[in-house]
């Protein structure tokens, strides 16, 4: 049964990382500190591609699933997404997603990628829920996750400190039952 449709959406496709190319892309992406600050709670910093490649080679754990996000029209690598922190007993995983190429922001590419991750998580991994956290100062991210079906589950008050003030951590989650209901509505 040859099937690559599960990981193919309307705008993007999820593919296994090619470490060398990915590290080179990341070196460019983190030069845009807005990318790092939307994605990471740790201080934004600059890393050479070689070091990031070494990090993948040394630290890569089989219990995290990495995907490169590629645009369907020209197969360009525009971002990446991970599913990790699996709790197979409760059926939970955490998702992270980032688009490094700015010109793809705010056009539905991230939401399309997230829909693919959710389809993979529920249909293939048989998870019961998918979790994420997102920073208060990232309304575009929050809207995208809402559009993909995530529900708000609370806020960690004043969790982050950036630009001299504190910001909440927004927690979101989607249950398998909610995802299934969304699929049913789409068919109707």
């Amino acid at each position: 049964m040859m099937d690559t449709s599960t990981l193919t959406g309307k705008l993007v496709r999820l593919k296994a990382l090619e470490i060398e190319k990915h590290a080179a892309a990341l070196e460019r992406w983190v030069q845009d500190s807005e990318y790092s600050r939307l994605l990471n709670i740790e201080p934004a910093a600059l890393w050479p591609a070689k070091q990031m490649q070494e990090w993948f080679e040394k630290e890569f754990k089989a219990d995290t699933i990495f995907f490169g996000i590629h645009s369907l029209e020209d197969d360009r690598l525009i971002g990446d997404t991970t599913l990790g922190g699996f709790d197979w007993t409760a059926g939970n995983a955490w998702v992270g997603i980032g688009l490094g190429e700015r010109e793809y922001w705010g056009k539905g590419y991230g939401t399309d990628a997230m829909r693919l991750v959710l389809r993979f998580a529920f249909r293939e991994l048989n998870l019961n829920r998918v979790s994420l956290d997102v920073f208060e100062y990232n309304p575009r991210g929050i809207r995208s996750y809402e559009n993909a079906g995530f529900k708000h589950e609370g806020r960690g008050r004043s969790w982050l400190m950036r630009d001299g003030r504190r910001w909440d951590m927004v927690y979101m989650g989607i249950l398998r039952s909610e995802w299934k209901e969304l699929q049913r509505q789409k068919k109707d």
Partner: protein, 192 residues
């Protein structure tokens, strides 16, 4: 003058972990799966003293080499009996934010000494580590811990729905948060 005794409370003291002896004791406690889930993020199951000892050694190593975690034993001052552990498993220094896991082995000790243990942890977190907030995760079935944090200045901030599985059903994961100002308020209430 500053408060000099961070590790000595009314009834309790925080102590360095004794990898051999404390691991043997905690192995007994992990047979209570609610305790095991409260102290560790991993799937709750009874742990061998051997694996617990290895975890302690990793905690201490990471603590001294990277300063990204702190891990102490909680003991009674009167007879030095070990009653539980306090673990700050991960620090975000740039955000001045951390996580807190307190586990007390016996329910009777949890009810009697839990508040004091949390207050000592908060004193360390805010007075010595200079942090601004702490998050305490509590699986929804651990009612004693939820009550403990609610009584010590924490606010229930997040319900991660169906995040836990125990005793044949799903439970929410509760995230409690305490900010420096919540703690200041608590101290004033205790003093007045």
């Amino acid at each position: 003058m500053i408060g000099t005794q961070l590790f000595s409370g009314v009834n309790l003291r925080l102590a360095a972990v004794d990898a051999e002896k404390d691991a043997a004791q905690e192995s007994v406690w992990t047979h209570d799966l609610s305790y095991a889930a409260q102290m560790r993020q991993a799937i709750a199951h009874p742990l061998m003293a051997l694996e617990i000892k290895k975890q302690y050694q990793e905690n201490v190593k990471e603590s001294s080499e990277k300063g990204t975690q702190f891990f102490f034993a909680i003991r009674l001052k009167t007879d030095d009996r070990l009653i539980g552990f306090m673990h700050l498993p991960w620090m975000s220094w740039s955000n001045r934010s951390t996580f807190l896991r307190i586990g007390i082995g016996e329910t009777v000790d949890l009810l009697q000494y839990g508040c004091e243990a949390v207050e000592m942890a908060l004193g360390y977190i805010f007075n010595e580590l200079n942090l601004y907030r702490v998050t305490a995760p509590v699986p929804g079935y651990n009612l004693e811990y939820a009550a403990l944090y609610e009584g010590t200045g924490f606010v229930l901030e997040v319900h991660q729905r169906e995040m836990c599985y125990r005793a044949g059903r799903r439970w929410d994961m509760l995230l409690y948060g305490c900010l420096a100002e919540d703690w200041e308020k608590l101290k004033k209430e205790v003093e007045s």
